[in-house]
Amino acid sequence: MGAVASVVMSATTFAGSAQFAAASVLSAAGSVGAAATAAILLNARYVPIGISVASILQGGPLRRLLEGQLVVDESWAFSRRRDGTFDRGVLIGAGLVLYTCWVTGTAAGALGGEALGDPDSLGLDAAFAALFLGLLVLQIHSRRAVVAALIGGTIAFALVPFTAPGVPIIAATAGCLVGWRKR
């Protein structure tokens, strides 16, 4: 997707799995709508994650907005204390370190990567599949999550031969409905 676009995306969309998802759909000749929808749905988790840390972020709305951008899975997980509350210093500090590494790492990869030739000969397509698998395993902390993953994977598998790239991923979000809890 081009070196400059990759770096700009890392700087403005600080959320790896969504970036990989968008790149994955685009490289499979998927549409703009499918790529963007898959990525944004993947980031929909930041709504509840953001709400969970909202009470520890201080200052005016603009400052809270900026601090909220530093929340990613890793900084959020690091800052969670055993009693379920969050440490603001750890959240912001880890977020800043991760952000810096992420943007410089993307720049290094994008500039170095263009000299490497065909990414598939390096197994990069399998690397993305493995990355998603590794991220998935990190998300599995209940039987319900296993069911959601199985439904999502099955829907995607069933749709791949029949729909444009990206559509199977969007349809697979139906798996999240297992999260519905009765009152």
Binding site: A18, L41, P48, A54, A126, A127, L131
Partner: protein, 109 residues
Amino acid sequence: MSRRLEKALSSTWLVVSIVAAGTIVCKAIGPVLLGGRTLSPQLAGIVDMLPPALLAALVVTQAVGADRKFVFDERLLGIVAAIVAIRLRAPLLVIVVAAAGVTALARLL
């Protein structure tokens, strides 16, 4: 610049802008609007299950998917390597490198 390349470039930038705006909004909603409040348990439960469902779909499409067809190739060997690495509780980077390395090696042979 050919028209096709131009189109591909602009769709990349369109995705980059839309995803950036969407992500910033998703991350901002809690801190800016709902300080201290929480989602209803029903909604929270559903949003909680979005990442597993989506990531499983991404594994499937990235491992065996192509444009409206399945392609079963060396990627599967990489996935096997990744599963072994996951079972050994290797860090994410090792999992990814193992999958890429095994796949690249299989393509070389």
